[in-house]
């Protein structure tokens, strides 16, 4: 099997920084604002999210490549991808509860949130549209997961400091978080054009 490492690295870096899902594509904002109030939840979410993304992308790639393309079922990909991720997350949830209860109580609550997240769906959809190989798909998944983790951790560390700041009343809570996100997105804009895929 011929693996183009250069392309894989490009995809990885591009998805982490340049096309960061939160700051460049504005996806996954509900979880982004939901769990970044505290660093602890942000870190827990980052780990869970990256793991689910990686396994979900691999599963979806196999199904897409070996079942959906031969049978010309590309038009069903949104439905199928959501179903596959949901089934996988549900199974993981049940298994984790039995095998690793400590991990389950730490990360279990995030699993249910993740199922319907748009980044989780976007990654296999991009993989399918770009006709990535298995390794390229996984590079995109890990890169996007790391990019999302980066976004969560940056945001959580700022919002923890924000607790002590004297925010005008009308901006308190979500509004100032949106302003912050915009500012960070501006910073991430600096990465654009570094790599063209």
């Amino acid at each position: 099997m011929n693996i183009n490492w250069e392309h894989i690295l490009t995809i990885f870096i591009a998805s982490t920084l340049i096309n960061n899902f939160v700051f460049s594509r504005y996806l996954g904002l509900c979880i982004f604002f939901g769990v970044t109030k505290r660093m602890e939840t942000a870190v827990g979410m980052s780990f869970t999210f990256t793991a689910v993304m990686l396994i979900g992308a691999a599963l979806n790639w196999v199904i897409y490549e070996y079942v959906m393309i031969p049978f010309h079922l590309g038009f069903l990909k949104i439905v199928i991808f959501i179903g596959v991720v949901a089934a996988f997350v549900q199974a993981a949830d049940t298994i984790m509860k039995k095998m690793a209860p400590a991990l389950y109580y730490k990360l279990g609550i995030y699993l249910a949130l993740i199922v319907t997240n748009c980044i989780i769906l976007a990654v296999p959809l991009i993989n399918a549209d770009e006709h990535y190989s298995l390794f390229e798909s996984m590079a995109l998944a890990v890169g996007s997961g790391l990019g999302f983790s980066l976004a969560l951790i940056i945001m959580a560390s700022i919002r923890e400091k924000l607790e002590l700041a004297d925010v005008p009343k009308s901006f308190q809570g979500l509004p100032i978080s949106f302003v912050l996100t915009g500012l960070i997105a501006l910073a991430f804009l600096g990465f654009s054009g570094m790599i063209t895929l």
């Binding site: 079922l73 038009f75 179903g83 039995k98 700041a165």
Partner: protein, 387 residues
């Protein structure tokens, strides 16, 4: 062989589907992001239906197997206990959240049922009922503020204009208050309280609501000056000062601080007050909540949380005139001839309850003053805590 059979079946299915669908909606085309085709590819539709059906069945069976294989047996009592608990996840019980306590109290016979501070005794009884353990009576506690020196009564070292939060203010040379033991008044405790029991007075001191406070201890942990402590609600007389400065220094910094003069120690009939390190402390195990020290304290550093004290009444039918009460009364409010019924002077009685405790005939009862009765207590400059 099987492949051919499957192919024939799919073809037949798609043919039937096309006949049916063309009758139902003859002009159905393709749309969306799918590339335009001249006619509907019915075999793809058939594949799609079959694929989705197979996928659904496979996932369903897989999830069912997983659920059966990795079943976790939970005690139904855990759920019941969790439903009974207040759900504040305050951690006052010492476990990680209400669910953690519910599991511990059901699973571990050594875990007591009365650990939930916000739930008080009613929750303890319900938990005891579910788990079959014995409920011990919990004496209700409340958070008490050990500082009365609001902005009007205390001095400031400098003008603080930083972040309006005690944890931030304390970083600037220990806060702007001259007294290093006092409440800074930037309401960190108010924000920490999950029950909304704390409000800030006009003098920037926390007021703790007796009804709402559950003694969960969040404010105690939040206060960077350790001004708030949990205390038994029944012990309503509190020396509201934490200053270990020398008396003269206290006077310079605050009008209502404890100057360790020792008057309360000499006044206390129960010998419950001790001065240690320039600060008087009440031993609540000995305190009889008589309130005498409150009256005698020259700086009004001792606070009585009973808003209106009851007055003593002597039942003339039971009184033998032994004059035990007359000797014990600290304000000489009881008078009467020996061997005849005694009378309590309602104006001088301070409601300490010592005569009631001592009367051998149980002739004295403490009665809440009727409305309109004059409260002889001197009007305070400020009420630090509403009760």
């Amino acid at each position: 062989m099987y492949e051919q059979l499957a192919h024939i079946l799919i073809q037949a299915f798609s043919h039937a589907l096309s006949i049916f669908a063309n009758k139902l909606a003859p002009l159905v085309g393709v749309g969306g992001s799918v590339e335009t085709l001249e006619k509907v590819p019915w075999d793809y539709v058939a594949y799609g239906i079959v694929f989705l059906a197979v996928l659904g069945v496979v996932f369903g069976i897989a999830l069912a197997i997983v659920a059966a294989r990795f079943v976790v047996k939970t005690d139904p009592r855990v759920e019941k206990v969790r439903d009974v608990l207040p759900g504040a996840n305050c951690g006052a019980c010492g476990f990680a959240g209400c669910m953690g306590y519910a599991e511990a109290v059901v699973g571990n016979p050594d875990v007591a049922v009365n650990l939930c501070a916000p739930g008080k005794s009613s929750v303890a009884e319900q938990v005891a009922e579910i788990t079959g353990k014995k409920a011990e009576k919990v004496e209700p506690k409340i958070a008490r503020v050990f500082c009365q020196g609001g902005t009007s009564l205390s001095q400031r070292k400098f003008i603080y204009t930083g972040v309006m939060d005690c944890t931030a203010a304390v970083l600037a040379a220990g806060g702007d208050k001259s007294c290093e033991y006092g409440c800074l008044g930037y309401a960190t405790c108010m924000r920490a309280c999950p029950f909304g029991a704390i409000t800030m007075s006009a003098d920037n001191l926390p007021l703790i609501s007796k009804e709402k406070c559950t003694a969960c201890g969040k404010c105690v942990a939040a206060c960077p000056k350790q001004v708030i402590e949990l205390a038994l609600m029944s012990k309503a007389v509190v020396i509201s000062c934490h200053s270990r400065d020398k008396g003269l220094d206290v006077k310079k910094k605050c009008q209502v601080g404890c100057i360790a003069c020792g008057i309360c120690v000499r006044t206390c009939p129960a010998d419950a007050i001790k001065i240690d390190n320039n600060l008087a402390r009440i031993d609540h195990a000995k305190c009889i909540v008589c309130g005498l020290c409150v009256r005698k304290c020259p700086t009004k550093a001792i606070h009585d949380y009973i808003p209106v004290r009851p007055k003593a009444f002597i039942d003339p039918a039971k009184c033998d005139g032994l004059d035990v009460c007359g000797k014990v009364c600290p304000v000489s409010a009881i008078s009467g001839e020996p061997r005849s019924a005694h009378v309590v002077n309602q104006d001088t009685c301070i409601g300490c309850g010592m005569c009631e405790a001592r009367c051998p005939r149980k002739a004295i009862s403490m009665v809440k003053a009727a409305s309109g009765a004059v409260d002889k207590k001197p009007a305070k400059k400020q009420e630090p805590v509403t009760v």
